[in-house]
Subunit: 191 residues, 2 copies
């Protein structure tokens, strides 16, 4: 069935992720990846659908990896503890794999349904964490959007160097999480 082993797909994705982590997403070129894999660039067309296909594959891979990390983070935790820890894990992922994270949050085209699916899994994971707060369904969904906005915004601004002032970043992150949790409690008690 497989006349020739060829390039391992996982190795391809990891190499692409390394390129992204080192030089940003725009450093992920077919030429660079081919060089890294010891192959000529046209050969990559046997494995990915051109450059845009490579980027799409990296988006999916990044989102899946992020989802796994978040799953591990909430395992055995609940309530405020889980909420806090999943945020810290999210930001840690973005810090440790800046290029892969950048890829993960690229605008997705409507045909990337698998990527959509993983995105939905992340939403569901966050919804599960929020169950103790007994929110209505739309409230819970607004809360998930808020949570994602916070985590992504922080990660993105941090990576872009927009937090330039001499002020501890982890302090800011913890402050932010506290604001969110306090606001959520307040929201809860207002009903």
């Amino acid at each position: 069935m497989s006349p020739r082993p060829g390039i391992d797909r996982l190795q391809l994705l990891q190499s692409a992720a390394e390129l992204a982590d080192q030089g940003g997403l725009h450093a992920v070129t077919l030429a660079a990846l081919a060089g890294k894999l010891g192959v000529r660039s046209p050969s990559l067309y046997n494995h990915v659908d051109g450059l845009s296909g490579l980027h799409a594959a990296l988006t999916l891979h990044g989102l899946q990896t992020l989802h796994e990390q978040m799953l591990k983070a909430v395992a055995g935790r609940s309530g405020e503890d889980a909420l806090r820890f999943v945020c810290l894990t999210y930001v840690d992922f973005a810090r440790s794999h800046p290029g892969l994270y950048e890829a993960a949050l690229q605008p997705l085209r409507p045909d990337q349904q698998e990527t959509q699916r993983v995105g939905n899994q992340i939403v569901e994971l966050l919804l599960r964490i929020l169950t103790p707060y007994q929110l209505s369904e739309p409230e819970a969904l607004h809360t998930v959007r808020t949570l994602r906005s916070l985590c992504h915004g922080f990660s993105s601004l941090e990576r872009s160097g927009q937090f330039a002032l001499d002020l501890d970043l982890d302090d800011s992150l913890n402050f932010m999480i506290r604001i969110f949790i306090d606001g959520l409690h307040q929201q809860n008690s207002q009903r």
Copy 2:
């Protein structure tokens, strides 16, 4: 002093912004911009320092425009009203000028001091809005980072199509702002 009029810099920036708004930042190429301006691409080197210089110029232009909008938004407003309105204005800017906004939040290189400066102006604007809350200096700075994370995260995720569910986006935005303001009050009363 000016032997030949040549290309108007504002027109150049506006054309580049249009390209970005229509096709994303990666559609801002020297070739496309030259075509739009009715000129050959090497001619652009008289006005910008190559493609990366063009992107840097667009970053600055975007940040300046965003700052102006935020200034207008807070004029004649104060307290919670100002806070809410500046968030809405921020998100509105990102929606109305997606490409220019994308450019504005590009990672900035250390040599772009003018861009740094405008970023600092935005931070100062937000600090002024927060004065009624009587926060300590580090708290105020953490709060600004939180606010920026919220607004940028929401704008960025919205644009990337990550908020796919059938749930009103403005409702989410207003919910998010309320969570933030409630959390901030809570923070305040805990001291």
